[in-house]
Symmetry: C3
Subunit: 215 residues, 3 copies
């Protein structure tokens, strides 16, 4: 494997204790959103588990395959167990206890966290800034996109909602700050907060991107 570059090492160290927890939390939130999509479609437990798993670990899986890292849920059981657990939880509980509006805010936290986390992991594998920022977006967004493709519904990349854009701000901001020599923790905090605020603003005021208008 490519050794972690020196400039990235401190980032990974500084937040090493926080990372696994953020990771688990984001996986759980994404898996819940996947299982709830299956609940809305009134599918079976198998669909709940598939959607939970693919939404929870799909983005990170693609990131790891692209950057040449061992796929993160292949060498420990927790991530996939969390996904299956989330599916079971949604299956055995009434939908009304899952306030989907509230979950959207949690999903925004997961989105911002995963974007920064995915970009940081890519940098630590020696990936240059631009593709590393893309890997942040992939980590945060591809799970939901895979779920929507499986479900046969238009995914977030086809909708005007500001979602991928917030992931791009988080990942791009983090990578840009690292590139200009910022402290790892400062770049992380700024990227995370930037993406989070944009996504929260988008939820609150239903912000969307303009569609292409032929001139």
């Amino acid at each position: 494997m490519v050794p972690a570059s020196l400039s990235v090492q401190p980032v990974v160290d500084a937040s090493a204790w926080l990372m696994p927890w953020l990771d688990m939390a984001a996986t759980a939130v994404f898996a819940l959103s996947g299982a709830l999509a299956a609940a809305r479609m009134r599918k079976t437990l198998v669909t709940f588990m598939f959607f939970g798993a693919i939404t929870g670990v799909g983005g990170g899986t693609l990131r790891d395959v692209l950057i040449g890292a061992p796929v993160f849920w292949m060498h420990r059981s927790a991530p996939i167990a969390i996904c299956l657990g989330a599916a079971l939880l949604v299956w055995f509980t009434p939908r009304r206890i899952w306030p989907e509006q509230a979950l959207e805010w949690f999903d925004g936290i997961g989105l911002a966290a995963y974007s920064v986390f995915g970009a940081a992991k890519a940098l630590s594998f020696g990936i240059p800034p631009l593709p590393a920022a893309i890997m942040g977006v992939v980590t945060a967004c591809m799970g939901g996109i895979f779920r929507d493709m499986l479900a046969g519904v238009p995914s977030i990349v086809l909708r005007p909602e500001i979602y991928v854009t917030a992931a791009a701000l988080a990942a791009g901001g983090y990578v840009a700050l690292i590139s200009i020599g910022a402290y790892g923790w400062a770049a992380m905090a700024a990227g995370f907060l930037g993406g989070l605020i944009l996504r929260f603003a988008a939820i609150r005021w239903q912000l969307g991107l303009p569609a292409y208008k032929d001139l």
Copy 2:
């Protein structure tokens, strides 16, 4: 690569002579079902070959990428040749000689065999039990899911039919028995038979899973 753990070695040895044949047979059955899907849609030979290949090798390909193994059909020509051959066979023969009802039973054999085989391969690469069982399901089911996504039809994970469930029983049963120290051949036989019987029962009595009912 991760060395095979000792507990798994005997499994691989005991059935080493049978594995390649099971593998080829399952690939062929899956490729036939892919090509027949193209025939039902009255598509061209290119679609037959794409569907044959993606159904035949798609699941095992994703498994190998996830567990970090060299993709199995990249270093020998037989698997992809079998897929293309199956597509040509279906193309040049009238559909009535392919009794799809009968094929469904063969597909059930392939399903049970691939689930156990995929899980065994994952274990032999040092993957822990839970993700290894998932890899069995991926091996057996993802080829057909990719085909349905390409074809734009709802895949098996959206249907109540007991199919993924039978793969999960086969892979999970095998992995559970290995984990409690069972002989490799016994775990394989039990996993295979469990999945096979459940799938056959599902075909025979059209068993399905219950859909989510909001409480």
Copy 3:
């Protein structure tokens, strides 16, 4: 990694100076076609970039993952920068300056070039001839197929148009000539021209493959 086999080495050498340029040009043409698909659907800039990137680098990405090569756009920034640049270019210009008929011819050049290039790269990683030829087709065709799956429209593998067939002729012709001992540059030129002429003929006379007719 698998060392390049001796018979393939000269091929790679002979065209080493041309390869990166062909590669960039084909990426750009594919990315433009992806962004234009987003323009036709009147989507946002995020969709333009997603479609540009997935069409531009999708096929080569899958090839690299399958043959076990480092993913080509992970270790240099140019390919993904070209894709995002193409998306921006299409976003900021009126559609009428992009004569889609003309782009179809450029796409044909990219198709033939990528088919040969993908097969050559696979051979240089020690992949046997049949899967190497398939890797040429994957390189040339999968980007557009991923884009169509994301867009929810029937992809080229479902349409009778001669497109995948031209890629198969280019990649298969190249690999066949290499296998019988032809010079690398001769095999490349013949494969490229064969695929190009077939694709151009298909565009010019709207050639299509016959559909399956049940006997």
